[in-house]
Amino acid sequence: MENRAIFPGRLLACLLVFPQLAVSLIFFYWPAAQALWQSFLVQDAFGLSTEFVWFENYVNLLKTPEYYHAIGTTFFFSLLVVFFSLAIGLLLAVMANRNIAGVQIYRTFLIIPYAVAPAVASVLFIFMFQPGLGMIARALQRNGIDWNPVLNGNHAMILIVIVAVWNQISYNFLFFLAGLQSIPKSVIEAAAIDGARPMRRFWTIVFPLLSPTTFFLIVVNITYAFFNTLGIIDTATEGGPNGSTSTLVYKVFLDGKAGSDLGGSAAQSVILMIIVVALTAVQFRYVEKKVHY
């Protein structure tokens, strides 16, 4: 009732909401509905023959062991990426939040990697880690480590985690730094006067007060690891060797693009959407309760 007193009629309110609604409808709901519809069809690449098959694409999917393998890979990969990119981002933010000479320069340099496209980042790292060519790969081999991401699944996983983390650190750094700067100095000073050492001050005061930022970043980073790492995987490992770096979103891409299996690919993207919606819902329902705003 109070809200309505602010806008004289419904018309203005509707007009103001319309652009956002239109964007959501056109760029989210419409394609999502298309994917849902496509997932019930078996169709050839050119769209010349179409058959409505209900849930057959889903049933086929749940019968393939590779799909479960991809689910496992995705969660493992996401866990590593989210943990390391948050931890390193936070560490760098804490370091850059101190009063040291040239702090602006450090901060700028720490933000720049975010401007590098994931696929480009991937190529940079391939050059460093390519066996026989890359300097890091050569250094590893000289030290007796048989670095071979082309054939060793663990090495391939390490490679894409490094690229994905490197690409995301800047983003996390930026938000953590802003979060740190909004924590009142007086609270920290009070703790210092009470005799709390820096580590204790960090864990009992700074970290809890950062929790809204951390929570936001966890949600964003999980989405990043689930979806935006497609370019990295495609350029670095192409999901191999032996499917060991094939995540769910990469499989959607590969089955749709290389396999021209639009129905199966759509079914996968619907399942992926459900997983991410469920994950986010769980986070808001349970994790958010522990956040201090």
């Binding site: 078996v42 050839d44 690449a45 010349l48 023959s49 054939l151 191999g240 060797p241 499917g243 021209s260």
Partner: protein, 438 residues
């Protein structure tokens, strides 16, 4: 601002005037392709030469990215109702294209309808067979073809005490072990892993990859390449991989630099690698035919091609088809084929062009360029060596590669990996058959 507006208006007016003018009624034909670097220049030159040779048609080449990107762009354009006239599709996309009846126009039909002189017998059967129906009707026009050869670093072989490049697989295995002593990270390696180790290997040994003449006779084909010979090959490679006498270099050709850098002295990959080797190898090198198992009955049979062909899309105006037919006749010209062959390193598609190049003494100076042709024409193709046509082949190669990788990494036995590659591939074939036959 006003000036700029008038400028734009004037341009539009001129453009409208131009299209309305009957004197300039040129039929434009879009040609989507995936050629990069020097081969892109060849495509552009061909289009320019054709456009200059007559005034009724204009070929407009457009680069659309990788082979897979070009195919996807074509499919998307067809679904949106504006497919190009000519589309370059790689050899493994053949089944996808031919299954799309209505989306494509078979080249033999096109040439007949447009009354262009066209004799299927004048083309090299090892090349056109890949792109023809079981009855021999040409579906698409071969453009850039290559085959697989064994590249050898002669200096490194000499250093390891090997007199000549290996001819058979047992010799390759033995040489790889000897080379390991001088190059501990790699003796022998290969690119295009499934093309070489499964597709070419089967043709070269005259054994099937699948039933129904490797799918050429129907989409109800069933894979059966998990045979003893294939298993023997993979088992040997798995064994050599343990100490890197053989070292895996990935699914595509990204590992080819390992040959030119001198790391791998024996390297099996496409004959189209030639310009790269010529430019970058700082050692004596040669290319020899692919190795074979001497105890296999028919080996060596003949090799198969890789590369791409030009597909004509359906639903175009007869004017456009006329132009495309004329363009294909233009491409088939003997002198033009000779020129293309010598400049790009890709294979000539007509017998006349091959003979003419041979007669000119070109191969005496460039023997490496004849190796793939000798392989392709080694014996008349059998139903195991005419080519292959499996639906979903693009992704099938990934699936086969995954299983080979599992075997080489020691996660599965060679036999288990091949069994899995066959059964996973068959699932994909059944899915494809279902959409293709309706």
């Amino acid at each position: 601002m006003a000036l700029r507006f008038f400028g734009a208006a004037a341009t539009v007016a001129v453009a409208v005037g131009m299209t309305a003018s009957p004197a300039l009624a040129v039929t434009e034909i879009q040609w989507w392709h995936a050629m990069t670097g020097p081969n892109n220049d060849v495509v552009v030159k061909l289009a320019n030469d054709f456009n200059a040779s007559q005034s009724d048609y204009k070929i407009v080449p457009t680069f659309k990215g990788s082979y897979a990107d070009t195919l996807n762009a074509g499919i998307a354009a067809f679904r949106a109702g504006n497919a190009p006239g000519i589309m370059q599709v790689f050899e493994v996309g053949t089944a996808t294209m031919m299954a799309a009846k209505g989306a494509i126009k078979p080249v033999s039909d096109l040439m007949k309808e447009q009354g262009e002189k066209f004799d299927p017998q004048s083309y090299l059967p090892a090349i056109t067979g890949y792109y023809s129906t079981a009855k021999g009707e040409m579906l698409s026009f071969p453009f850039n073809s290559s085959s697989m050869v064994m590249w050898a670093n002669l200096d490194a072989l000499k250093k390891a005490g090997i007199d000549a490049p290996p001819k058979t697989w047992p010799e390759v295995f033995a040489d790889a072990k000897k080379l390991h002593a001088t190059s501990p990270t790699c003796g022998f390696s290969s690119s295009w892993i499934t093309w070489g180790l499964i597709e070419q290997f089967s043709a070269w040994h005259n054994i099937p990859i699948g039933t129904k003449a490797n799918g050429l006779d129907g989409f109800d084909t069933v894979l059966d390449f998990n045979n003893p010979l294939e298993t023997k090959l993979l088992e040997n490679l798995v064994e050599l991989q343990k100490d890197k006498s053989y070292d895996y270099s990935g699914r595509t050709n990204t590992g080819e630099g390992r040959f030119t850098s001198g790391e791998c002295a024996l390297y099996m990959t496409s004959s189209a690698f030639y310009p790269n080797v010529k430019a970058n190898a700082k050692f004596n090198y040669t290319a020899v035919p692919m190795p074979y198992f001497p105890d296999a009955k028919d080996a060596p049979q003949n090799s198969i091609i890789g590369g791409a062909s030009l597909w004509v899309m359906g639903g175009k105006s007869s004017e456009e088809y006329k132009g495309i037919a004329k363009f294909f006749t233009f491409l088939s010209d003997t002198d033009r084929q000779v020129y293309l062959h010598e400049v790009s390193g890709y294979l000539p598609i007509t017998k006349a062009a091959y003979d003419k190049t041979k007669a000119s003494g070109f191969y005496e100076k460039n023997p490496i360029l004849e190796v793939p042709l000798k392989e392709l024409t080694n014996k008349p193709p059998t139903e195991n060596s005419r080519g292959l046509r499996f639906g979903g082949m693009v992704q099938m190669r990934d699936v086969w590669s995954e299983e080979i990788e599992a075997a080489l990494a020691g996660k599965k036995s060679a036999k288990d990996a091949l069994d899995a590659a066959v059964s996973r591939g068959n699932q994909m074939l059944r899915q494809f058959e279902r959409t293709a036959t309706k």
